[in-house]
Symmetry: C2
Amino acid sequence: MDIEQFRKEGYKAIDAICEYYAGLEQRPVVAQVEPGYLSKLVPNEVPEKGEPFPSIAADFQRLILPGITSWQHPSFFAYFPSNATFEGMLADLYASSVTNPGFNWACSPACTELESVVMDWAAKMLGLDEAFLVQSGVGGGVIQTSASDSALVAIVAARSAFLHAHPNVSPSDLLIYGTSQTHSLGAKAALILGLNFKALEVYPTYQYGLRGSTLQKAILEDRQKGKHPFVLIATLGTTSTGAIDCMPEIGPIAKEAGLWMHVDAAWAGITLSCPEYREKAYLKDINLHADSFCTNFHKWGLTNFDLSALWVRSRTKLTDALDVTPAFLRTKQSDAGMVIDYRNWQLSLGRKFRSIKLWFVLRSYGVEGLRAHIRKSVALATHFADFVQESSIFELCTPQSFALAVFRLAPKDVETPLTQDQLNGLNRTLFHKIAARSDITITQTDVLGMFCLRLAVGAQRTEERHIRRAWEIISTAGVEVWADYQAGKPVPVENGTH
Amino acid sequence: MDIEQFRKEGYKAIDAICEYYAGLEQRPVVAQVEPGYLSKLVPNEVPEKGEPFPSIAADFQRLILPGITSWQHPSFFAYFPSNATFEGMLADLYASSVTNPGFNWACSPACTELESVVMDWAAKMLGLDEAFLVQSGVGGGVIQTSASDSALVAIVAARSAFLHAHPNVSPSDLLIYGTSQTHSLGAKAALILGLNFKALEVYPTYQYGLRGSTLQKAILEDRQKGKHPFVLIATLGTTSTGAIDCMPEIGPIAKEAGLWMHVDAAWAGITLSCPEYREKAYLKDINLHADSFCTNFHKWGLTNFDLSALWVRSRTKLTDALDVTPAFLRTKQSDAGMVIDYRNWQLSLGRKFRSIKLWFVLRSYGVEGLRAHIRKSVALATHFADFVQESSIFELCTPQSFALAVFRLAPKDVETPLTQDQLNGLNRTLFHKIAARSDITITQTDVLGMFCLRLAVGAQRTEERHIRRAWEIISTAGVEVWADYQAGKPVPVENGTH
């Protein structure tokens, strides 16, 4: 493809994306394809001769789009949001046009320098302590692929620092602490690193957030057993229910015990951009006690996947754990300590030019625009939670957390209260009923044995009418399921999932 | 930005990229900026109010492009190539437009299904054994971020399988094998995983490739010491000199000793698309003995960063090591074993829709187009190597490997032969002279104490005239450096790097 062909095909791609978004609301939310659909529609091998680009682009519309679940659809309420904005798309396009592997400053100085600038911008916008700024010269921010990567990097740095201070400790005695509500990234990091992960207990009485007393007790007991907890993954906004670990209690205990506290705020960290959420999100305690902090701008932060922001209080703890610079990667600028080589702040060598999308998004929306997006999502979730609370057959399973409502069918005023098993059966049936639809999507979760439904707001195009419609669909289905139950129709008992 | 603004700004972005490529050859290859240039030119904080997009896009031209080293410039000969194509850019744009975190099949079925299709396409194109195909149901291919990630994933799987078979072995006794020429990803994986990396010796007599005898001896000696080598990172095309480990010798020994053989062919793996290189690249032995194989299409494979292709012979060894599926990520399709959930084939949970760029590239170029690109690069490198060999003051340090020439200033027919230190001094001076230019870029390397220069061909726009010009620049500089030396001008002795 030469330059003029690219211009033509580029315009057509832009037009196709405009068309997709113009018709987004009329599309199914969930891709309506069966496993294996694609392999039946495409050849079995790479073509010998190149094909004309227009037919390839047409196949994107014909073969790929039907298999895409529209995360930007205003009725997408599953998992957590994964925002995409036009500003982010254009940034991705510019980044792709000057592709380079970005492993050191010299690869393309703009990549490193812009990353430092925008990570400082974002840190200030979230109210993070200045120790976390690149400008501090001590800590700093780095863009990772995902919150899993961010946590893994933090744990590797924590382990390295701990073993450096305690050279006689055997790695097999090390413990990664999280809770039963910690994202699977905790257990996965342990699996990858060959370490043990311990899920501390949390309770409904504190809305599934970790308490200081639980942490303190675990440290004492584990140390008595000869174990060495060295890192705590604390969560601001768990995936299951949006729970917040009690930072004011656990922060000082972790610090006192020499544990690295990594705050996984993948989803909810972005709320810190709004001053009114900072107290609830324990910003002050995070600033006092966290050794590292992660939030994903590619979730609720208007930035196209992938952009996981990780800040650390000590950059040398990262580079001590990750720097293996060989001769062919040495540069005069790094040797002189004049520049950051971000490869030593992450697992991989190569890295994409991702700061540009955060730069484009933050400048396009401004602090005001981002706050407006967050506040609107929370208000819409509140609207939904109000519907739930006003209903006689539904209940919230936990208090609404930011833009997440966790709820279930739990009819009140029944003669014989239903058992947990019966309620779980009812809600599985309800979930399957909704999961069978193509015009809305939500997800399920298991909260210590309680089967619940989750509705997470955050797509940019979601308005009040979509929330009203969601409630109409869910409440109508709930009424039907409850009526069937009362009429004696059997409730499926299999542990169905979607 | 609404849809019509996006259309307008999208067209402008396409135009801007056209302009960049139209003027590419007239640009400096290497960014002409000093460390810290950007922070002086941008505000210190996120703006409160959003800015109009045209001024943001203009800042990409004004602030970012000057800090970009043009890896697509026809006179870029540093490191290895990092190809970007218009087809890849459009694919990135389409992928960004339907952004989704891609962690399981249900996220967007097209992402998973296309990845399986194109990884099978690529495997067949490279001639990999059918055991590596997704279609085999046993092995399969997965797209990773970088060769570091690919190696790390392979090592984690290897460790898991090894410890499962040998439950009494202590991780501290495990050894990762590579050579002194293995990419830093080997040592870095060891650092991340808290394991030991052992660099086996290689010798100039076999062009810095690992021999079976060395491997056999190491296994015996290490086992006698109670150590357990469990994985061997074998390289097809090392970064330093393009060395190829002797797969026919080491493959059977690794297998016999129960070592997982991971073949890191990040750069040179793509040459397997050309039948004439398969013997030199030991395809037959890779197919017989490799447990995993990685090549980066984002290097020499016309695909925009990032696209590291990893194939494994046993997918269950990956998922045994990496699957920690929690309730909220369970889906009926995965539970039924009907689909691949690629999150269990990688370190992170979230993942980008990257298969589309490989699909666009492979279809646009076809096997013929990709082969033509590889063959042209090799022919151009041969052209350069011929210049070196015909010169009376330069020599090749190792035989040309595919499109990489490693050479140095080493005047022949001198009365007193120069010592290695003297030669290194001369070549450092030469390297600094070339590194000070903006119209060409090459890199240096250290080959067991010998300071060498590397010229790697592979940018799509490099033609014979750029090679002739490169030789003119380098040979002229070499003549000057040698004349200065002969005239008694001092040669700097510092270990300069660029």
